[in-house]
Symmetry: C2
Subunit: 240 residues, 2 copies
DNA sequence: CGCCTCATTGACCTAGTTCAATTTGGGTGG
DNA sequence: CCACCCAAATTGAACTAGGTCAATGAGGCG
């Protein structure tokens, strides 16, 4: 159930079997959400955090003009709203972009876990700071990269993140059941322009996104096109 | 020394005198940085976090093409790199945009404080999540708002944040010693375009930015122009 | 005075948008 | 099996917000 979360954590920290048990036993209730359903609504007090175990979700808000801005794409193994623990509620919606399965972790249980093992608290804090780092990288993407590089960067990011949780094939191919409009709304582009630039990436032989699958044909070249530097994902193993 | 930090925290949480003493006594060394100096360099292990007590700093990276993207503007009372505590190092530089004064808080001291009072840990975690919330709002700004609204939004944000630490005059006027280029690099615009749109805001009678001072003539109208909603700043007092 | 940084303005250009039409590929009901 | 429908992808053509380039001001200061 929480194996993808454990993979994500173990990539960066050593986890004792005891830690794993604590996490495992703290998460109980499973909930499913259909596509487009709101998993966590904006501005409402939250008493628990949700771990995405299956499907793809996103953080997004709607603007007055009807535009949607997606601020992060959540993958299996991600807590979609761990930050509601320190914040109390969310400043944005979390929405299912595909069918999603989620397990709940009450804030009270988080509190208890941290009380028993402070290091676990620091690990959870780390996970939320990883989201913040991804936010910053997106700021660079949207603020400074041209359209092709934006799309390329997103595909690189998702490749690395999905790889951590074992969801990338040996030939850099991964399941990505998103609409082009989802990508457009993530990158501050229009669906039409996104479509054209996806075609360009395809014709350049860098990557293909079709039928809910992303295939990266030349990761190194794609990273160059994206000016991608994986360091913002903090993939190194660390002590403490 | 740390009074602005205390204001910032007290706006959201009750702080016991003991908590305040713990914070106060943990921060010792003061360091000054001239304009353009790097306060915390990217990708280098950090053993302490820095609290900005005076001046304005920013988180930024440089792209291959020589462009700079600013990801957050740090004000007095902000920790510029509290997230280095869980992360270990930063994915970006922290740079002084004006002369800055900083006090240091070692990670060991943070560790100790949290050990003594877990609630304080949650408060520090909150502070880092506030930064993340600001990042998300900037994503919306850069991804979806037109130029005038971007600038307006930034002036609203700075007004609210500076107000918390007592740096806004009664007539919504605050010291903001930034170049137009700093604003441009924060918003994903060019300095030229920023200049033109600043003129527009001035002519609309919404706000003036001249000689290092921002004057908001009509905050409500400026917020409307920016589609600004202060909720992302989590300004409410909360329990726990 | 001369220099330097930053703000301002004008003229032209382009990456990305907008609008609208067409295609594609499932489903689904008969 | 086929006609129809619908969501999403694709393409074309015209448009614009914002960018680029380059010149001019306007202060501050050694």
């Amino acid at each position: 159930m929480i194996d993808k979360l454990l993979l994500k954590i173990r990539k960066r920290f050593d986890l004792s079997p005891r830690n794993e048990d604590m996490l495992r036993s703290a998460m109980t209730e499973t909930v499913d959400f259909g596509r487009q359903k709101i998993i966590v609504p904006e501005n409402e007090p939250v008493g628990y955090s949700s771990l995405l175990v299956d499907g793809i979700a996103c953080r997004s808000t709607w603007l007055d003009n009807g535009e949607r801005q997606i601020m992060e794409i959540n993958l299996p193994g991600d807590f979609v709203d761990l930050h509601s623990y320190p914040l109390g509620w969310l400043d944005h919606d979390v929405t299912a972009l595909t069918h999603c399965r989620v397990v709940k972790l009450s804030h009270r249980a988080i509190e208890r876990m941290i009380e028993v093992d402070r290091r676990l608290g620091r690990i959870l804090w780390f996970l939320t700071m990883l989201d913040a780092s991804i936010h910053r990288e997106w700021l660079v993407t949207i603020g400074s990269r041209p359209a092709v590089a934006r799309i390329a960067h997103l595909f690189c990011e998702l490749c690395y993140r999905l790889n951590v949780v074992g969801l990338v094939d040996s030939d850099n191919r991964y399941h990505l059941p998103l609409r082009q409009a989802d990508i457009a709304d993530s990158l501050g582009l229009t669906p039409v322009h996104t479509n054209r630039k996806l075609k360009e990436l395809r014709e350049m032989g860098l990557c293909t996104f079709q039928d809910s699958w992303a295939r990266i044909h030349d990761l190194a070249a794609l990273e160059r096109a994206a000016t991608f530097d994986a360091r913002f994902l903090f993939l190194e193993k660390r002590t403490i």
